[in-house]
Amino acid sequence: METTQAFTPEFYTAVMPEMLLFFGLLALMIIPNLGKGTFRIRGTQIRLPWFLGGQRYAWSSNPHLPAWIATLTLTGAFVAVADSLRGGVDAVHIVSSDAESAKELLMINGFSRVFELIFFGALALASFSSMNRLRVEGVGGKLKVDQLYNNRRQADFYILMLTCGLGMSVVALAQDLFVLFIGLELASFSTYVLVAFLKETKAGSEAGMKYFIVGSVASGVGLYGLSMLYLWAGSLQFDVLAATFAVSGTEPLPLIGIGFVLVGFGFKVSAAPFHFAAPDAYAGASSPVAGVLATASKAMGMVGLIRMLLIVAAPDASDGSAVWLVCLGALAALTMTWGNIAALGSTNPKRMLAYSSVAHAGYMLAGLTAVGAWTWDPTFAGNESDAALMVLTAVLFHLLVLVAFKLGAFLVLSILESDGDASRLSSLGGLAKREPLLAFAMFIFMISLAGVPPMAGFLSKLMVIMGIVNVGVGTGAGGLGDFHWVWWLALLMVLNSAVSVFYYLRVAVVMFFDEPEEGREGPLPKGWQVRTSILVCVLATVLIGVFGNSLLEMCRTAAESLTTKW
């Protein structure tokens, strides 16, 4: 473990991926604007070329350029993170000064790195695949490439992607609740705009508006909760908060504060009843963006939840369980059931995926609930922290693999979107005839979402269930009556999985059984980038499901690095 101040050489080494992102951002702002722009020296007729603006060069006006920059940047960041994850991460603390009273700002360890892996991975795939998929005009029209790409707006899109990634990574690294909040807002603002990016459509602008308004309210509530916590503890440092909480955690002020903060994060993970804007946002946003919302953005919310619930309001070993146990349990049950029930009848594939993403949030919340109960049984046979670590591992793993099949599903929809429309179930009709491999990929994503072996989704869901059950059974000597009630969350979870098969399978049936919609029998639009991304997702889904052991162990290490208290 090493400690370093901000803006020292060590700092730059430690935050290499973020720096990459930063420079990528700069490049993205400058490079597409390079042109034959000149600068007239005041009062003279001398025009000095300063290469910015004016008529752009052919290469700098290449519509693919911003996307390439963003993708390469994100991929680079991803690789950097992945590389640092190999063989374990040495934790690096970044503090504000070398004084004794210095505040800890960021911490780089396995836990945060895994989340960065999720963020960068999802964003990289999304930007790569939206390279030639980004629609700028009204629904349905097929435009020529020239028309399709308004270069400057392309650049905007990818700039937002990068700021989003930057904000998210701040969230993952933050050791101060307010720093975390800033990162969260940076990412949120980017996503608001990304959702509203299709502003030329009714749906796009409306989705942006809703997502913005509800998100703002949620973050307003969260910020207010922050202020209450600050009022109570005098600091928003996690370690300070945790220490204070252990002393006076049952006072009303921290409880209300935590409750409010929970609302803020609840919106990000789209937990019921804070999820309402999510289906609308997903439906209105372009599919890769929706995919980012469902994976990276959700993971970001989970970081906040984990930090808040497991670090700050950590379950008290003497008392046995956390104060938020019942609350989170209720939220989890409500969220997963609501999501699944709502998805059951949804005929818009994107809304369906949105609701399914709500359900998945519920599963992860159920996992966190179990952590809250992990010390309930004094005669617990195993190492108590093992139980908690197992759940945490499961949640991390689930978030990680979710990128593969949730984003993958959205990417498939994005192809259909550029074919015209993906807002009806029937637009998937006959996909198996139009492009069998694509249908097959979608099928893999669907059954992985449903949790059918041997896909990654099954393994992750199994891990979550195992985590919950592990906590729930305790010694289990007295049978069901002796179980902690979180065990019933596991039962609810498997039943919900069963319900969810219904709507996932319906997608498969439509793809393989139904005929294509009128006028959509022809081949799908070309685009190797998005197909490559989908292929990556399929491979990840299948291979992690079958050979995911090392990934599991990585998540375990990451979970262990969350806190030294366990």
């Binding site: 459509t201 749906a203 989705a207 509530v221 910020l223 207010y224 202020s227 009022l231 609308d280």
Partner: protein, 100 residues
């Protein structure tokens, strides 16, 4: 020096007004204003807490929060403009193409 508790109480009032307004008003701009009210409530709370704890960090938080609020307004207005362009209204109830 004002008693921080009073400030805190005012901020609570502002927060409630902001939240209440957010879901009772139809006009998007007013809702945005309500949200600003909520953020400002938090700011006041930060200020009050900074006084209470004698900790300057709270003031820093406030300044950051104001910056955030400002950018939020900018983004919000931009989105509302886009929405108005498509829906010809800024009444939240009338913008409901997406539902269920």
């Amino acid at each position: 020096m004002i008693d921080p508790a009073l400030v805190s109480g005012l901020s609570a009032l502002m927060f409630v007004i902001g939240l209440g307004g957010a879901f009772t008003r139809k006009n998007a701009i007013i809702v945005l204003m309500c949200i600003e009210l909520m953020l400002n409530a938090a700011n006041m709370q930060f200020a009050a807490a900074a006084i209470y704890h004698g900790d300057t960090t709270g003031w820093v938080y406030t300044i950051f929060a104001i910056a955030i609020a400002a950018s939020e307004v900018a983004i919000g207005l931009a989105i509302f403009l886009a929405m108005y362009g498509q829906h010809d209204t800024i009444s939240l109830d009338d913008v409901n193409v997406l539902k269920n």
